[in-house]
Symmetry: C3
Subunit: 172 residues, 3 copies
């Protein structure tokens, strides 16, 4: 995003002492939104080494992306490009919560003898669709609008894997 | 928001050979987006008193936020800043649907003796991650693009609570 | 992006009657973001004939909408306006995965004698809230940012139905 000066053309025909005159005035104007290359690239990619089935807190990385974007008001889209992992928001305080969530999700999506997928990770695929591939978070005054107890988590359901996720920041 | 061409006035008083001259230069500038102070704060916060586990229809508040924003085309992000509540979209006609959804979710996420979280509300945390913390709805022609039978719901899973939710409106 | 009114300087050197004159014109201008007509209508609607309970791959339609929008960087919001269908992202390679997902979802959300909704499709309503009504995908360099194995799916849970979905493209 670029904030700053730009140049436009003021064009006018006016009369002075009987002379009709055409004016082309170069205008430097501050402000507005110049869409330059930097702005086009407000997508941030992060890597993750997911050794075990777990919820990895990525709130710090998302905050960093928002800070780098310099966007004050808008949204951040956090997206997981994998099909046996997801993104969710849940409690950041007591680690027993994400532990319990994993236990709960394994009850919700257990293995099933009817499954045919050769990789034998269909339960992980279902968990990915249940938690979802991404979340959208509001940015207000340069800060993520998260509740006190909310953290953003990358959910690994088919470890061990080398993973990545994207943060796209959209300013208004 | 304003779309199209507009005309501005360049106004200047300058002196030339002792004549004070006033210049009005017509400037045509193509397009843009009128952004006034109000638009800076296109995040709307709503409170909610959630006495019981239930789906609270918040479609009216979301429509109100969109109307206040004056955004004609864009998206609205509805976000819940709590970890034992969520946002979902489902049927707005027969109240038996949301009643059945609660029964169903309690089957999907029952209590579990293995859970350790001291607040003993891990089933509510799981329901929050299953429904999700937010939804993104399209705005077209100043209206929410919702199906005839769709309503937007705040889902309370750990009552009674005083809750809030946010609506962020993004215009294009 | 620029908010509010601003003042710029029109600066020009021109000649009049042999005098070189320098003009500084103060300009108040509102505005900026260039919005052309095409950009105003970047919502795309697609129909779907959903004969059976299944995951219908709609990635092609979403890519087409992004291409038509000519948006290079931004997001695409894919939204389902129905309450017994959803949108999810999952594996696009082995068709056994979506087959297994349907089996898994039917285990997660089976019928229940306690359900009261007269249409008797409450399990489908619950599946819709579990997968979600929409997904938001990042656009970078004119392309959807999807993982190699990811496809976008319309999930039909209450067939047979004639359905539709929307793709809203937001450029930055």
């Amino acid at each position: 995003m670029y904030f700053g000066h730009d140049t436009g053309i003021a064009h006018s025909i006016f009369k002075l002492n009987g002379f009709e005159m055409e004016l082309h005035a170069n205008i430097r104007y501050t402000a507005h939104r110049l869409l330059c290359e930097e702005e086009l690239d407000m997508i941030f990619e992060y890597g993750l080494s997911a050794a075990r089935e777990d919820f990895y807190n990525i709130t710090r990385q998302v905050r960093e992306a928002v800070a780098k974007s310099a966007v004050k008001d808008g949204i951040a889209v956090i997206f997981c490009p994998h099909t046996t992992a997801g993104i969710t928001i849940n409690e950041n305080a007591d680690p027993d919560v994400t532990r319990d969530l994993l236990i709960g999700l394994n009850k919700v999506s257990p293995n099933n003898p009817e499954y045919r997928h050769v990789e034998e990770n269909s339960p992980a695929h279902l968990k990915a669709s249940l938690t979802g591939s991404g979340v959208t978070v509001i940015i207000d005054g340069g800060r993520l609008v998260l509740g006190t107890w909310q953290g953003i988590y990358f959910c690994e359901f088919d470890p061990p894997r080398t993973r990545k996720f994207f943060v796209k920041v959209i300013g208004v």
